[in-house]
């Protein structure tokens, strides 16, 4: 049977008050490609088309999705269709009144990011004073009866706080904490040298996670997203290219994942030009790497190909220079030395490497790097 999507990530806007240096948004988020945001009516049509195509889970993300004044209308439409709606927010200036309005509109689940276990580190990583808003919003979320996920991106400067972060999520009454080791795309790739953890840091954090999982059982689900540069085999990225997942960007381009737009050798279609089912079934971006006919060696004859699907196309493009190659994270890839070099550089580096915050002026300045050549140019 042809695959049908289960998940839709709706990136409602790339505007965001936070400036996290690992942001998964495109480096050129402030550029013309993303400027003309979809209207309320256009998003509602996308949701209807997504449901008809098989989507059941809807993530409302950004940027900061609560900056959309029509968020309540979008949720009402999605919930009316039967989609399970998750809001993925920084909670910056998010009031209890707004959350109550989102609840009344039918929102199912709230995910609130936090950048560190205390105000000092969280605000320093976010580049914006926001910790206090987040703690308040966690409490409002529980008071209103939402299931709550605490989202954390882990990297060199906050991995030592894993235990404190888990305790914080526990004290807030969260259902889940997602501890996502930084995946190196978008801004995170640009800031890779500043964010990459050491092996010792990862080992320590993983020990904490295993211990806390045993202590907490089903009281708090601890999701640990693997640091793939430190793995032997690639992750089964998105459960396989164009098998279950689609991302719609603020101006209507549809991508097989939220990083795919940076692959300059693919053509991306827009919901303003085509219905979603056509894009899923016929667009270049969705058909190019679906299945396994595209696979080169060592994937083609590898028994793991039905498990990891050749890994991540974006990583192959960004690191090895060709989206049609084996994910360079794979120890069987002829490009694995590029990953090893990045990991080794961190082990031998001394002191703190500065990062570039995600912000519109930096985005415009970095636009020439957006085609992937920036990495090579950086050496």
């Amino acid at each position: 049977m042809d695959p049908k999507p289960l998940w839709l990530l709706a990136e409602l806007t790339y505007k965001c008050p936070l400036q996290c240096p690992y942001c998964s948004n495109p480096l050129d988020f402030a550029g013309p490609r993303f400027r003309r945001e979809l209207s309320t009516a256009e998003w509602c049509r996308v949701f209807r088309e997504a449901k008809a195509l098989g989507v059941l889970q809807l993530g409302l993300s950004g940027g900061e999705p609560t900056l959309r004044a029509d968020l309540e209308d979008l949720i009402r439409e999605a919930r009316g269709l039967g989609l399970y709606t998750s809001l993925i927010t920084s909670a910056y200036r998010l009031t209890k009144e707004r959350l109550a309005a989102l609840r009344a509109a039918g929102l199912d689940h709230v995910q609130i990011s936090i950048q560190g276990a205390d105000a000092e580190l969280s605000d320093a990583v976010a580049g914006t004073t926001s910790y206090r808003d987040k703690i308040a919003a966690y409490q409002y979320t529980r008071e209103l009866g939402f299931p709550l996920t605490v989202n954390v991106v882990l990297h060199r400067r906050n991995l030592h706080q894993v235990e404190a972060l888990i305790r914080l999520a526990e004290s807030l009454g969260a259902e889940r904490i997602e501890l996502a080791n930084t995946q190196f795309y978008g801004w995170a790739l640009h800031n890779r040298d500043a964010l990459m953890p050491t092996k010792d840091q990862l080992d320590d954090a993983w020990r904490v996670v295993q211990r806390e999982r045993a202590r907490l059982g089903t009281a708090l689900e601890i999701v640990w997203v693997l640091p793939d540069y430190h793995e032997q085999y690639p992750k089964p990225c998105m459960g396989g290219w164009a098998r279950a997942y689609m991302t719609v960007t603020p101006a209507g381009e549809v991508w097989p994942c939220h990083a795919a737009g940076r692959i300059t050798t693919l053509t991306f279609d827009n919901v303003r030009d085509h219905p979603l089912d056509w894009i899923w079934e016929h667009s270049d971006a969705f058909t190019r790497f679906r299945g396994d006919a595209w696979m080169p060696e060592p994937c083609r004859s590898c028994p793991r190909k039905t498990h990891d699907f050749g890994g991540c196309r974006c990583q192959a493009f960004l690191v090895a220079g060709d989206a049609g190659l084996t994910d360079p994270v794979c120890s069987l890839s002829p490009h694995r030395h590029l990953i090893d070099a990045a990991v080794a550089a961190v082990e031998s580096a001394a002191g703190v490497v500065e990062w570039t915050y995600r912000a519109a002026p930096a985005s415009r300045a970095l636009a020439p790097f957006r085609d992937g050549t920036g990495l090579a140019a950086k050496g």
């Binding site: 049908k4 289960l6 008809a52 195509l53 098989g54 059941l56 889970q57 039967g82 399970y84 998750s86 199912d108 689940h109 995910q111 009866g145 299931p147 996920t149 259902e175 889940r176 089903t218 689900e221 999701v223």
Partner: protein, 91 residues
């Protein structure tokens, strides 16, 4: 915890029973996941109304189908959902 006769199974508020028309089945949706249900599973979930006990659910199904001996299957199914945090037991 496991299902016993007088325990009242309740769907956790984070979970929602939803029909999946494209794939012709019912599913239980929850944060970042879903469980596909067969028709019997969907019936059991629909009977978890916070009033019926496990024994009531069993009796209702046995009456509906004129059969006996479904208790083991019902409790195993509910315990599976409880292990995922999707069902809780009260009194």
């Amino acid at each position: 915890m496991t299902a016993t006769g007088p325990a009242v199974p309740r769907l956790h508020p984070k979970a929602r029973l939803q029909h999946d028309g494209v794939r012709g089945r019912d599913v239980l949706l929850y944060p970042e996941g879903l469980v596909a249900l067969n028709p019997t599973g969907a019936e059991i979930v629909a009977l978890c109304d916070g009033v019926r006990s496990v024994a009531d659910v069993v009796t209702t199904l046995e009456r509906r189908y004129g059969s006996k001996g479904v208790e083991h299957d019902v409790t195993a199914f509910l315990d599976g959902l409880a292990a995922k945090g999707l069902v809780t037991y009260g009194s």
